[in-house]
Chain length 117, copies 2
């Protein structure tokens, strides 16, 4: 649980930055060399490398040395935990809203049990 929790923390922390989210989006095109990924960000390579390190530590990407360049690829399964957590909280919150509505309907019925003639 604690291990799962810290993984989830790393994933959400990694997603909490617009540059890192843009890098992830671009990896939808397929594996790309770091230099190609870095170009449109407008940041210096060391900055982009730090962002990629955060993404890799969260398990969201994998990087691999290929000759003189480093290739990055997305790891789709790494998003599942975060998506599942959000879905669980939403259903928890919405179930609560449903229970509240049902309760309010009960109150209405108690105050107005029969339509008048």
């Amino acid at each position: 649980m604690a291990q799962h929790d810290s993984h989830l923390s790393r994933v959400f922390h990694a997603l909490g930055d617009p540059t890192r989210r843009a890098l992830l989006m671009r990896l939808g095109q397929g594996p790309l060399p770091v230099s190609v990924l870095a170009a449109p960000t407008g940041f210096a390579l060391p900055t982009v490398l730090r962002h990629l390190e955060v993404l890799e530590q969260a398990g969201l990407i994998r990087t691999e040395k290929r000759g003189r360049s480093r290739m990055c690829r997305a790891v789709p399964v790494a998003l599942h935990g975060a998506a599942d957590w959000l879905a669980a909280v939403r259903s928890e919150w919405e179930a609560r809203t449903d229970r509240l509505e049902a309760f309010l309907e009960t109150l209405e019925d108690e105050h107005d049990p029969e339509p008048r003639d």
Copy 2:
């Protein structure tokens, strides 16, 4: 876009901490006073208040002074942006996997166009 981006950053940043995620989960029970929310965390009240401030700045909760206590409630709609973003990236990544598979099938067909008699 930039505004949406910074909202999304605040939401993901807020979710990147296990204590804040636990606080959000508990708000599925309905609005709770800060003191009740703080009790099971094992943290001092000022620490919990700082976490709640991060959640409130991300729009994930609303707090309201009621007499001597402060009530907290979940804001379900605030999770939609994060869930939508995750779904968009997943579908982007998965579409890429589908295209890759289709491409590999094409290659296979080219190399083995007809079954032998």
